[in-house]
């Protein structure tokens, strides 16, 4: 057996989490930073050793230490990218909480490290129930992060977050049990190729959908997200937007589509309609927000709707696009929450009107904020452009109408993001206290610069990120091809007419009738 690097990636933050519980504030911060950086290093090793074009499942580990399910880990390119996203964002989250969190630092760092364990576990799990345990366990640290270190209305937000997502996922558990009972295995790679009865698929799909739609979150079950985001501390929002929302999309890619292709096809329009509503409605809602975090939270819902629409396009482009939007959004919305956090730490308000003209006194900050705003809008050269373009191009192959509606989301996105940027960074410096804020310090630089670099890298040379996923997405496309929906404006190449359009038939009879058929 090769070196169990995935287990090590789970063990490092776990040990750190336990250690942090017993440490004082400063040493807990250092421990957490070291643990997350170590995991980032391990993640880079993982990526470098990932054999593109090799076996579908790599770094496979398996131990039969539980009854009813096994400790089975292994990743494909899709999981690799999402693990990279998680380990990349974690040290940044720790840095973001460096000064902002003052009470119960050890417990806070412990919760974050635990969160990292669970996120990596979700993406690496190759056993259905192991996946579920990691998936569901994430609720505990997040509940504590929101509830203990959150804003004024944190208790309501933490309850809502917990119960909403719990209700979504318990039904999935029953569906999983049924599937395991039917297929006789808990092994995800095997289940990926098991054909369930199409009738049963409908129910299974709905049960999984209940869970993933809430996680995603899709309209109309998105309402927990703005509350959770607004109340969570900055780093909590980053993790929530950056990685936790990706669990829903990952679930669709890993379970709903390949395991229930027929049912997915059946519900394609259901997903499209929810996505269209989400894109337009939440963008409009974002336009009128006064609270910066809420605005970005609503924009997340809109971006995630492009992900769901792209996924249900049933083609490689759409799915690649969806993955790229997820990765790009993970970076960009995380960065935007960090930008909000930077000025929140200085002025302790998220009210947009309390700021203004920050580009005068905080030029470096304004530059970063500008870059991430543009990335969020989907400007070419940034990560989100690649994803959105691919997703919409894939979607176009299925439905021109849905593509049209979803594209308006990009326009509306430009509207609310630029409007936000104008109000915060440009204009008069109406508030004296906002005008007196110092620019970025070294720690904030260290947080924002890596993300900016990654955003540009992903925008300029997306191949680095697409290459590991290509083969897996092709496999997924092949798997679901049998159920792929038809193109609504399917341009079949017809036979050319014999004559010009203005040709008048010289005589009467059969020839005329034929002409009319055109």
């Amino acid at each position: 057996m090769e070196f169990p690097i995935l287990s090590l990636m789970l063990a490092v933050p776990l040990v750190g989490a336990i250690a942090c519980l017993f440490l004082g504030a400063q040493s807990a911060r250092m421990t957490a930073l070291v643990a997350t950086l170590a995991n980032l290093a391990l993640g880079i090793v993982l990526w470098l050793n990932y054999d593109i074009g090799g076996a579908q499942w790599q770094f496979v580990e398996r131990a039969e230490i539980f009854a009813g399910f096994s400790y089975a880990l292994g990743i494909d390119g899709i999981a690799l990218m999402l693990i990279m996203l998680s380990v990349f964002l974690m040290p940044i989250c720790i840095l973001a909480s460096w000064d902002a969190i003052e009470k119960r630092v050890g417990e806070y760092m412990s919760a974050f490290l635990l969160m990292e364990v669970l996120m990596i576990g979700v993406f690496a799990a190759q056993d259905m129930f192991l996946f579920y345990i990691f998936f569901e366990a994430g609720l505990i640290p997040m509940y504590l992060i929101i509830g203990v270190w959150g804003g004024d209305n944190r208790i309501y937000a933490s309850y809502k977050f917990f119960l909403y997502t719990l209700l979504g996922s318990v039904l999935m558990l029953i569906a999983m049990m049924w599937m395991v009972n039917e297929a006789g295995t808990t092994d995800i790679p095997t289940l990926l190729n098991y054909d369930f009865d199409p009738q049963a698929q409908t129910w299974l799909w709905l049960a999984f959908f209940a869970s993933f739609a809430v996680k995603m979150p899709m309209w109309p079950v998105h309402t927990w997200l703005p509350d959770a985001h607004v109340q969570a501390p900055t780093a909590g929002s980053v993790i929530l937007a950056g990685v936790l929302l990706k669990l829903g999309g990952y679930g669709f890619i890993r379970f709903s589509l390949p395991m229930f292709p027929e049912a997915s096809e059946q519900f394609t329009w259901f997903v499209f309609i929810l996505s269209m509503v989400a894109v337009v409605y939440t963008s409009l809602v974002a336009l009128v927000q006064h609270d910066m975090k809420k605005l970005i939270a609503y924009s997340s819902v809109a971006h995630m709707a492009i992900v769901t629409a792209g996924l249900f396009a049933f083609n490689a482009q759409g799915i690649e696009g969806a993955m790229m939007v997820m990765l790009g959004h993970g970076l960009v919305s995380g960065a935007l929450f960090l930008c909000v956090g930077v000025i929140y730490d200085r002025l302790h308000t998220r009210e947009i009107a309390r700021y203004g003209g920050l580009s005068i006194n905080m030029p470096k900050y304004a530059l970063f904020f500008m870059l991430f705003t543009m990335a969020s809008v989907g400007l070419p050269g940034t990560s989100n452009f690649v994803g959105e373009f691919l997703a919409l191009a894939g979607l176009y192959k299925v439905s021109t109408l849905v593509t049209l509606v979803c594209t308006t989301g990009i326009i509306l996105g430009a509207a609310y993001m630029l409007y936000l940027y104008r109000r915060v960074a440009f204009g008069e410096q109406t508030n004296a206290d906002a005008a007196a804020m110092p620019d970025l310090n070294a720690r904030e630089w260290a947080m924002l610069a890596p993300i900016a670099a990654a955003v540009l890298w992903m925008g300029v040379y997306p191949e680095s990120f697409l290459a590991p996923m290509r083969q897996d997405i092709a496999a997924l496309e092949a798997r679901i091809a049998r159920a792929a929906p038809d193109f609504d404006a399917d341009n079949v190449i017809g036979t050319p007419r014999e004559h010009n359009a203005n040709y008048v038939a010289p005589a009467h009879g059969e020839e005329h009738g034929e002409e009319g058929a055109h």
């Binding site: 230490i65 539980f66 009813g68 990691f134 509940y143 504590l144 558990l173 029953i174 049990m177 009972n181």
Partner: protein
């Protein structure tokens, strides 16, 4: 079969009975001074009985299959598994008991003796294979429970709890007895095998009445809805260690008795009782969850929680398969760890003057005052709510899986959706401890004995518990096979 074999098979009960009688004499001569000694000896005897039961675990291969006294009693894997749980739970509760009474000075040497006799009764309940043995065991356990509930004589609430428990318990016993008489009347036998054989040939309506009466009485004993009304009052009124005891060992005994009853003598009539069990299961889950929401008293809250948990165990029974019974037993084992742990933590909550704290206001902000205790309670509450990676999830997992395998998907789906309601009040527990500001002073330290019990329970329900899934699965499967195989 020799008389000696019978005595050997019932060794745990015989040993405990003798210990109880001797200790009673010690208590009578030694008075209150001997309370500590009697407690220690009782704990030792209970642990000894548990070890003895481990030795008896696998009797299926032996020539008498563990049957004692002409099949009045059976020492099979099922009975042994339940007994191990019962004895361990009783001894754990006994360890954390005496300190509770030091403040009022009302601890007496009779207390551990009553617990020992109670354990004898409970052992008989889970091993009985004859309605008469069953009834004697049941009454032996119940009568000592009534006394224990009202042990704080000066406290009105305790007396009220004892009286309430006695009146309603006597009513339930009467219902069971009436059911037994009907069953006997229609089958001509009080022996489980005889009853099953008789039901296999004919199952008249009158016998159905008998079955329903017996099951209703047993539902009272396990406090399943709609026979749960006594539980919150008794749990709240009884002294906390007694509540801890009621919620753990007698629950295992009553549930074990119910499982054996349903799957042995009534095994052929699954269709007759399944809908009752399904109703009781769902109703218990929902009522247990909703009832707990408004509670301020933690003991009352845990009472509703135990009703809620009984609902989940009954889902395993509703499956009526070996996997379902094994699941119910797994759940019981985890439940005992959770409930003993929770009540031990509750017993550790005292104000500096030594008064016990038992409301939400008392644990407010506990995480800053007693972090270790608060984190233990957090783990226990998430475990009770069935959130992975804590081990409580595994209990729910196995019963729901059994239900799904038995094609009761709708039951599983409704049950698990209702469990989300239950999560609400467990979350409240955590919210009060972690999110709220401290209101009360709490005692700064607790004795080692309490920590030891709490640490064992928390270790079991922690993610480390998953390492137990394989042995636990084997033991419960073996236990379930001891009578389900006969189906």
């Amino acid at each position: 079969m020799s008389y000696a074999t019978s005595l050997y098979l019932t060794g745990a009960e015989v040993g405990l009975s003798l210990t109880g009688l001797v200790l009673l004499l010690v208590a009578a001569w030694g008075g209150t001074k001997s309370a500590r000694l009697v407690t220690i000896l009782s704990v030792a005897a209970l642990i000894g009985a548990a070890i003895f039961s481990v030795g008896l675990f696998d009797r299926a291969g032996s020539e008498v299959a563990g049957r004692a006294f002409g099949d009045l009693y059976r020492a099979d894997a099922f009975g042994s598994f339940a007994k191990i749980l019962i004895y361990l739970a009783t001894s754990a509760v006994l360890v954390v008991t005496p300190r509770f009474y030091t403040h009022s000075g009302s601890y007496r040497a009779e207390y551990p003796v009553l617990m020992v006799f109670n354990a004898v009764g409970m052992g008989m309940m889970v091993s009985a294979t004859d309605l008469m043995t069953l009834y004697i065991g049941l009454e032996m356990s119940s009568l000592s429970s009534y006394v224990l509930a009202s042990f704080l004589k000066q406290d009105d609430r305790s007396s009220e709890a004892g009286l309430k428990y006695f009146v309603l318990g006597a009513l339930a016993s009467g219902i069971i007895l009436y059911g037994i008489s009907l069953v006997y009347g229609f089958t001509g036998s009080t022996n489980y095998e005889g009853i099953r054989a008789a039901f296999a040939t004919s199952f008249p309506t009158g016998a159905l009445f008998g079955v329903v009466f017996v099951l209703a009485g047993l539902a009272f004993k396990v406090s399943a809805v709609p026979f749960h009304m006594w539980t919150p009052d008794v749990y709240e009124g009884a002294p906390t260690p007694v509540t801890a005891f009621f919620a753990s060992a007698p629950k295992v005994a009553a549930m074990g008795m119910l499982l054996r009853m349903a799957m042995d003598p009534f095994a052929g009539e699954v269709d007759a009782w399944r809908q009752i069990v399904i109703f009781a299961a769902l109703a218990s889950i929902v009522v247990g969850a909703l009832g707990a929401i408004g509670q301020q008293n933690l003991k009352r809250l845990l009472a509703y929680s135990s009703i809620n948990n009984v609902g989940f165990i009954l889902i395993g029974l509703a499956a009526a398969t070996p996997a379902g019974i094994a699941g119910a037993l797994t759940y019981l084992a985890i439940y005992v760890a959770m409930v003993v742990g929770s009540f031990t933590a509750l017993l550790m909550l005292r104000d500096p003057a030594g008064n016990n704290l038992e409301t939400f206001a008392d644990i407010s902000g506990l995480s800053t005052r007693r972090p270790a205790l608060a984190w233990s309670l957090l783990a226990l509450m998430f475990s009770l709510a069935g959130i992975p990676p804590l081990f409580g999830f595994w209990g729910k997992f196995v019963v729901f899986q059994a239900a799904v395998q038995a094609d009761l998907v709708a039951l599983a789906a409704i049950g698990i959706a209702a469990s989300v309601i239950g999560a609400f009040y467990y979350l409240k527990f955590i919210k009060v401890m972690f999110f709220d500001e401290p209101l009360r002073e709490v005692e700064a330290s607790s004795p080692v004995s309490h920590w030891a019990v709490l640490a064992i329970c928390v270790a079991v329900i922690s993610p480390l518990g998953y390492l137990l899934t394989i042995p636990l699965g084997d033991w419960t499967a073996q236990a379930a096979a001891s009578f389900v195989a006969a189906m």
